[in-house]
Amino acid sequence: MSDIWLVLGGTLTGAVGPGISVLYATYGELITERAGRINLGTEGSMLMGACFGFMATAETGSATVGVFAGMAAGSGLSLILAYLVIYRDTNQLATGFALTLFGAGITAYAGRGYVDSTIGGLNPIAIPLLSEIPKLGEALFQQDILAYIAYGLGPLLFVGLHYTRTGLSLKAVGESISVAYAAGRNPRVIQIAAIAAGGALAGLGGAQLSLGLTHTWSEGMTVGRGFIAVGLVIFAMWSPLRAMVGAFLFGGAIGLQLQLQTVGAPVSPFILDMLPYLIILFVMALWSRASARAMPEGLKGVLRANT
């Protein structure tokens, strides 16, 4: 019985641990895709955020500076994508992928001297009362500030997308550029802003990874989680609230498999290692029809060949 509680706690810890950085990247990609663009450079933006956030923190001693540096770095990389796909009309998938490689290269080079740096970083803040709930409170409410912001950002984005003028403009651009244009919006400006915001959020996710969760910079430390974020947006059917579910499921699966190993569960760790990916694939297959309906029109040309 105690093992079950332990595994449950481990799952929650994992959900918030590796989950938060993926959640930020998912939010970012979601905003970008809602505006009708897809950014496969999310992985690169995460790495930029992790690396430059860590470097700025190591240099200044302030994690706050690091967080903003990470956002700026992530945003900067995505602006290259914005220029290329919007003004030069390049292929979005190829450009995004190239930018991920570019981000990986730049950060490996720039971060070389910081691999062994020790930083104060972001430290957990326990929320009074809530943090005393057994297991749940420990996992969810003894986290760094970026985790709490991430909890709030989901509902905020939901309201923003569906009930504000800005959000509606963004969605309109994603559905039909010409209609949005006819309605007096400037689709280019909106798409650039969405891509920049998306990159900033991915960078924030990266910064959470290096400053909050691990207090470490190491080359390629996102190990593909930026691409997971792209997948999670589809999984979440472009809804910020479901994005939270997706990212926490992904992180939770990592926590689950590590904690299952500590209790000696009779399952191969290699099978367990596939869990996060299997869960995502399974849910995507399950909801594929609904997902197709929810997809912004502007993405269909890029993501679907047979509509």
């Binding site: 390049t90 190239a98 490996a108 070389r112 062994d116 430390m221 190990v223 190993q261």
Partner: protein, 444 residues
């Protein structure tokens, strides 16, 4: 409909001239950036140290080829005689020709030229771990030889990428290449026949070829001693071991760590968790939390980058035993001790023998007695008797009077793996494929 056509044209726009140029340029920049980071000779100071007079053995008559014969200080307490004897024995038992007959490195250097030696690392040279230990070994080479140049390449994955790096190093003139990561063995062995005059050295392989020698240290000896410190320190009696993959080296380490802990606390339990990555800091941090939740209060690891786990243990208020490299400054309140490498003299002796033409490919395993491995400094807060126990163990392992893996040794299922009274050889130990009784975890 218009949208449909426009979107489809996005794909074909890939083939318009301006986009093609742009994407090409972008790819080029990405490739350049990657190349800049991977082939990076400036990452560590190359020959910054003043060429110091090297210790030449009395018989050495060649000015350029310096024999090493490291002092006992360099050997971390090991004996110079045992150290050199190990190399002699390895050469005597080798079925291959000596390097004088084929290796470019054994030929005299043209005047003014330097002997180029390539080092390839799977991670960062400053990872406070495996790669840093190897990188420091390569810096030792620069200190003892004044006529060599080291080519370094870090963060090279264990794929065909390593072949590309090796080929590039050979084009750049390298005649000796150290492939320092376990997973480099496969790709490297595929190209050794293509370069019969280049000497490849691999760390951890269990087979050798004429121009492909392998060696590794018996670091498990220190895992045993560190396990004793861990077992004596733990209040909960639960230890944690965070590993990457269940390869024989790792299984041997966790078994030794557990045996050591058991020798001071018979009821101790060790939990073995795999992250399936040599360096995934997010998973490492999560694994530390999982262990803290499971009441584990001392942990150690077999990962390439060790910093995240060491620091996470410090923040969580538990204890940590190091691996690969002394990382005690990162965790003043958590650091117990650790198992560490001492590669410098080993590399130096191999290089000296290759140059003299006396090296013959072999598979070498050496330990404390030859000074290949060492115990990391103790945490300040440890009791004197705990430290003394570990030091006594190190001493008895060094002299060979104590063999921890003497049978009977039972695995997790209670099956006898080493029969009563049997003492396994180094090679048998390096082939360990099981976890001991008392360890929670899986090997597959």
């Amino acid at each position: 409909m218009y949208n449909r056509i426009k979107n489809l044209s996005l794909f074909s726009s890939l083939f318009t001239r301006s986009s093609r140029i742009l994407i090409g340029a972008l790819m080029l920049v990405a490739v350049l950036a990657l190349a800049a980071c991977s082939s990076d000779p400036t990452a560590a100071p190359t020959s910054t140290s003043a060429p110091q007079p090297t210790e030449s053995s009395p018989g050495s008559d060649s000015g350029s080829v310096t024999a090493t014969s490291p002092s006992s200080a360099d050997l971390a307490g090991g004996s110079t005689e045992v150290f050199l004897q190990g190399f002699e024995d390895a050469a005597a038992g080798s079925p291959f020709r000596s390097t004088s007959e084929f290796a470019a490195a054994a030929k005299p250097l043209p005047a003014g030229e330097k002997l180029k030696i390539g080092f390839i690392f799977v991670g960062s040279q400053k990872d406070l771990g495996y790669n840093q230990a190897a990188a420091e070994g390569s810096q030792y080479l620069e200190r003892v030889f004044d006529d060599i140049e080291i080519l370094r390449s870090e963060n090279i994955p264990e794929t065909a990428d390593v072949q590309a790096v090796e080929e590039q190093m050979i084009r750049d003139g390298a005649s000796i290449i150290f492939a320092t990561s376990f997973g480099y063995s496969g790709p490297t062995k595929e190209i050794i026949e293509k370069h019969p005059d280049v000497m490849f050295l691999h760390m951890g392989d269990v087979e050798a070829f004429e121009n492909y020698g392998a060696f590794f240290g018996n670091i498990w000896q220190l895992e045993y001693a560190a396990g004793q410190v861990a077992g004596a320190t733990s209040k909960t009696g639960k230890l944690g071991f965070i590993a990457a993959f269940p390869i024989p080296q790792t299984l041997l380490n966790v078994n030794a760590f557990h045996l050591g802990a058991q020798s001071v606390n018979p009821d101790v339990e060790t939990t073995f968790v795999l992250t399936s990555s040599w360096c995934d800091p997010a998973k490492q941090a999560t694994a530390v939390q999982a262990m803290v939740d499971a009441d584990i209060d001392v942990l150690t690891q077999h990962q390439d980058c060790t910093k995240t786990i060491v620091e996470a243990a410090e923040r969580a208020g538990i204890f940590v035993s190091g691996y690969h490299q002394d990382a005690s400054p990162a965790a003043p309140n958590a650091w117990l001790t650790g198992a560490a490498w001492n590669w410098g003299p080993v590399y130096a002796e191999i290089v000296a023998e290759i140059r003299k033409g006396t090296y013959k490919s072999s598979v070498m395993f050496q330990g404390l007695d030859a000074g290949w491995v060492q115990l990391s400094p103790f945490g300040d807060f440890l009791d004197a008797d705990v430290k003394q126990t570990a030091l006594d163990t190190v001493e008895s392992l060094r002299t060979g009077s104590f063999k921890p893996f003497t049978g009977p040794i039972k695995d997790q299922d209670g099956a006898i793996q080493i029969a009563d009274g049997v003492v396994p050889t180094d090679a048998e130990l390096q082939g360990t494929g099981y976890l001991l009784e008392g360890i929670t975890g899986r090997t597959n």
